[in-house]
Subunit: 470 residues, 2 copies
C-alpha cells in the first residue's frame, strides 16, 4: 500500500526493528484496548528517538502521507486509531522510554513520550517524590498519550489534570522541525504559552516526544472512608465542608449512585455490602498528608460528625487497614467493568460546575425516564471536578437491539442537559473520533472556528492525525 | 488627531463618560505608575461592558486604528503604554468592575477585567474563601492585567501563577467578536485550550473582559519565620526539606541577600537588624493551613532543628504576633523601594530551575564583578519558583552616568548566564516593550516564529497592542 521509496527511506531512519508490517503484529496497533475502534494502516513506525520522529514526519509530509501518533492505545475515544483507508501510518512512541532526568531539587522529572504512567510514578517514588496522575489504565498508558489527551483521573481534585503537571514539552512539529520547550521553570513569561496548545490536542498539531513534569512531596499518611449519603446535594455539601476543613489534604472524593454499587456487588468478586441497609448515594473520601503521623482520622471524624448532625451523611466506614482501603477502591473502580455484565452500556463523560451536579442529575434522570422508561442510570464520578460518568444500561430484561438503536438519542438528551448547565460533553476522555460530531454540535461555533484556524496555521497540510478532534 | 467620524461613533458607544480627551486627565493613562514609560494617545476610551468593548474594537478596526488595552497600569515592562505616535487609542478596562458571580459550591468567582486584585481578594474572603494571587501592586492592579501578563508574586510556590487560577475567559477578539469561554469547569477536554493562548499574551491577541477564577479554602493558621543562612545552596536545601515535611503548608519561601537587607535597614523606616551579627543570606518562611489550630510552629521547629544540625540554617526568629509578621514582610517588601535610594538600579526578573539557583548566582556574581568591578548586587526572590530579582546598583560613590551607560552590557551578561542555565529572562513581569529586543535575542527562533504565526492568525491586521511582546 505504501510507496516503496518511502518505505525504504523510513526503514533507513528507524531500522528494521522500528517497522511493523507483519499482519499479525499489526493488529494491536489498529485497535484500542477495548476493541471499540478498529482501523487499517499502511505501516506502523516505531522511532526510538526525537530525531527519528522528526525524520519520519518529514518523510511522510513529503510523500503526503497522514500520521496517527499512538501511545499505549488506552484512549476511550479512538484518538490513536487510524481510519479505514489503509493509507495512514501509525507512529508509535512506545520505543521512546527514557527517563532523561530526575531533578529532585527542582521537583521535576524529564521523560520521553513512551514512558508508562506507572513507570513514571515509580521513578518519582524512587526519588522520594510523588507523581500524582492516577487512572485506571496507568499500567498501560503512556506519558505522551496522557499529555496529548490532557488525562484526568481520581487525583485531579488536588493536583489538577495532566496539563497542570507539565512545565515543558519537546514537540515534533507537522513540518518535522523539533521545538525544544523542555524548560523546567515554574515562572516564564516570555510570550505565548505554546505548550498548552499541544497538550490536549490529541496529536493533531504535532507530536509530543518528551516533557518536563512536576513532582510533589511523597505522601506519608492516608485515611480512606466510605460514606452513605441521602442525596447528591449532600455530596456537594460534604465536599465543601471537608475542603474548608482539610484543604489540600482532601485528595479523593468519588461519588457513586446506589445503582452503580449494586452492579459491582452483583458482578465483581469479593465486594460486599458495607451497611445494613442500602442508601441512595455513596462517596469514597480520601485524605492524605506529607506528615507521617498526620491526624487525618480525627479530621475526618470531625468533618463527618458535623455532617451527621446536619443530615448530610447517614453512615460511614473508615478503612482500618491497607486491605480495607483496597476493598473500598475496588467498589469504586469495579463499576465500569460491572456495568458491562448488564448488557450494552452507553458511557458519557460529562462535567458541570460542582454546585450544579444535583440539578443536572435531577433533570437528566427525569428527562431520561420520561423518554426512555426503564433505562438504568449508572451515575458516578469525581465530585470535586464536577465530572460525572453518567452511563446508561438497558432496561432490565429488555433486548439489546432496540436499546442500542436509542443510543444516539440518549446521548443527545444527556448532552442537551449538560449544555443547559454550562457543562462539557467530554470532561476527561477527549474528542478523538468518538465525539467529533457531538463537539461540532455542542461547542460554540466561534470556538470551533478558532480551533480550525489554529489547526490550519500549525498543520496546513492536515497530515497530523486527520479526522480527530476537528 | 483622531478622525471626527470615528470619535463620534466611539462616543455613541461609550458615552461622554467613557471618553477621556482632556490633556490633564489623559496623563495618568499615558504613563505607568513608576513613570518609566510614557507615550501619546489619540484618545482614551473607557467602555463599561463587554458589548461596548466589542463595539470599540470593531470601530477601531474599521478605521485601522491600533488599540492599547490597559488595566491598573502597574506593569513593569510598559505593556499597557501607547507608543509615541499619538495615533493609538488606549482602551481602559477600569470601568468594568462587576463581580458577576460567586459560586461557593463550585469554588469559583466570575469577575470583570477592571476589578482590582485587592477587591477580588476581599470578595473571596467575604465568601469564606481565599483568592491566593498576591503581589505588591494588588491595591492598584486589575484582574484583566493580571491575566494578560500571567501575574506571579509571592504565593506562586503553593497556588501557581494567574494562569493556574483561571478556569474560563471572556475575550473580545481582534475582529470585535466576543468569545464566551466563561466556563467554570475543572475538567473540559473538548479541543484546544484557547484560554491559555490569551493569558500572558499582553493584549496582543485580544482583550480579556471577564474571567472565571478558582477559589481556595480560607487560611486559618499561619506561622512566619526569618532564617539566616550561610549560602544560597542552603536555601535550596532548606526549601526541599520544608516541602517534604510540610507539603502544601509551605506557602512562602522568599530569599534575600545580605546586600538587599542592608539597603532596607538603611532606607526603610522601622526596619531593624534581627540578629546580633550579619549573615550572607536570609529566607522568609511562611507556613499556613486551613485548620484553625494547626501545629505549624512545631513543624517549623522540627524542620529548622534538622537544618541547624546540618548547618543549613544559622539563626532564626519566629514571629510571635501579627505585628511581627508584618515587620518581617516589610523587610522583604522594602527591598525594591530601598534600592531606589542607592541611585539608579538595573532590575532583572529571571528564573532558572530551582536546583540551579546557587550555580547561577555564583557565576553571575563572578562574571559581573570581573566585568564591572564594584557594582552592588541586590539579589532576592522566590526560591520555590526559581525566580530571582537579580538587581544591580552602581558602585558605592560612583557617578550615575557611566553606570547607566553600562546598563545594556550588564543586562546581557545576566541574560547570558540565565540562558546558560536554561532559564527565562522574564519570569513574572512579561515582555511588554521593555524586553522585546531581549526576547528576540534570547528566545528560540522557532518559538518566536510560532508566536508570530499565532499573532498573524488571530490578529491579521496587527492592531492589537502593536509593538508589544513580538
Amino acid at each position: 500500500m505504501l510507496d516503496q521509496q518511502l518505505l525504504q527511506a523510513l526503514e533507513q531512519v528507524v531500522g528494521e526493528a522500528g517497522l511493523v508490517r507483519d499482519e499479525q503484529r499489526l493488529q494491536s496497533y489498529l485497535s484500542d484496548w477495548r476493541n471499540a475502534y478498529r482501523g487499517k494502516a499502511a505501516l506502523v513506525v516505531r522511532p526510538a528517538s526525537t530525531e527519528q520522529v522528526a525524520a519520519v514526519v518529514r518523510l511522510c509530509r513529503e510523500a503526503g502521507v497522514a500520521l496517527v501518533p499512538q501511545g499505549g492505545n488506552t484512549g476511550l475515544c479512538g484518538g490513536s486509531i487510524p481510519d479505514d483507508s489503509g493509507t495512514q501510518v501509525v507512529l508509535s512512541l512506545t520505543r521512546m522510554t527514557q527517563i532523561r532526568d530526575v531533578d529532585a531539587g527542582n521537583e521535576t522529572i524529564t521523560v520521553e513520550a513512551g514512558v508508562l504512567l506507572q513507570r513514571l510514578q515509580e521513578a518519582a517514588a524512587e526519588a522520594g517524590r510523588l507523581f500524582p496522575l492516577s487512572l485506571g489504565a496507568e499500567g498501560s498508558c503512556t506519558v505522551g498519550g496522557n499529555l496529548a489527551t490532557n488525562a484526568g483521573g481520581t487525583a485531579v481534585l488536588r493536583y489538577g489534570n495532566m496539563r497542570d503537571l507539565a512545565l515543558g514539552l519537546e514537540v515534533v512539529l507537522p513540518d518535522g522541525r523539533i521545538w525544544n520547550g523542555l524548560r523546567g521553570l515554574r515562572k516564564d513569561n516570555t510570550g505565548y504559552d505554546l505548550k498548552h496548545l499541544f497538550i490536549g490536542s490529541e496529536g493533531t498539531l504535532g507530536i509530543i516526544t518528551a516533557a518536563v513534569l512536576k513532582l510533589y512531596p511523597a505522601i506519608r499518611s492516608r485515611t480512606t472512608a466510605w460514606v452513605a449519603l441521602p442525596s447528591s446535594q449532600a455530596a456537594v455539601d460534604l465536599i465543601g465542608r471537608m475542603r474548608a476543613l482539610c484543604g489540600d489534604r482532601l485528595t479523593g472524593f468519588e461519588l457513586m449512585s446506589r445503582q452503580s454499587v449494586e452492579f459491582v456487588l452483583r458482578h465483581v468478586a469479593g465486594c460486599g455490602e458495607l451497611f445494613a441497609e442500602p442508601h441512595p448515594w455513596y462517596v469514597l473520601i480520601e485524605l492524605s498528608d506529607t506528615l507521617p503521623d498526620s491526624p487525618l482520622a480525627e479530621m475526618l471524624e470531625s468533618g463527618l460528625g458535623a455532617a451527621f448532625e446536619e443530615g448530610e451523611a447517614l453512615d460511614a466506614v473508615v478503612a482500618g487497614s491497607e486491605a480495607q482501603v483496597a476493598a473500598l477502591w475496588k467498589l469504586r473502580e469495579g463499576i465500569s467493568e460491572a456495568q458491562n455484565h448488564e448488557g450494552p452500556s452507553l458511557k458519557h463523560d460529562i462535567s458541570v460546575p460542582v454546585s450544579r451536579i444535583p440539578a443536572f442529575i435531577a433533570q437528566a434522570d427525569e428527562r431520561l425516564q420520561q423518554a426512555f422508561p426503564g433505562v438504568r442510570i449508572v451515575c458516578y464520578g469525581h465530585v470535586g471536578d464536577g465530572n460525572l460518568h453518567y452511563n446508561i444500561s438497558k432496561p432490565l430484561g429488555s433486548e439489546d437491539a432496540p436499546f442500542k438503536a436509542q443510543a444516539e438519542a440518549i446521548m443527545h438528551l444527556i448532552y442537551d442537559v449538560t449544555a443547559a448547565f454550562a457543562g462539557s460533553i467530554s470532561a476527561e476522555h477527549g474528542i478523538g473520533q468518538a465525539k467529533r460530531e457531538a463537539a461540532s454540535r455542542y461547542k460554540d461555533p466561534l470556538e470551533l472556528e478558532l480551533m480550525r484556524s489554529l489547526k490550519q496555521t500549525l498543520d496546513p497540510t492536515g497530515l497530523m492525525n486527520p479526522g480527530k478532534v476537528l
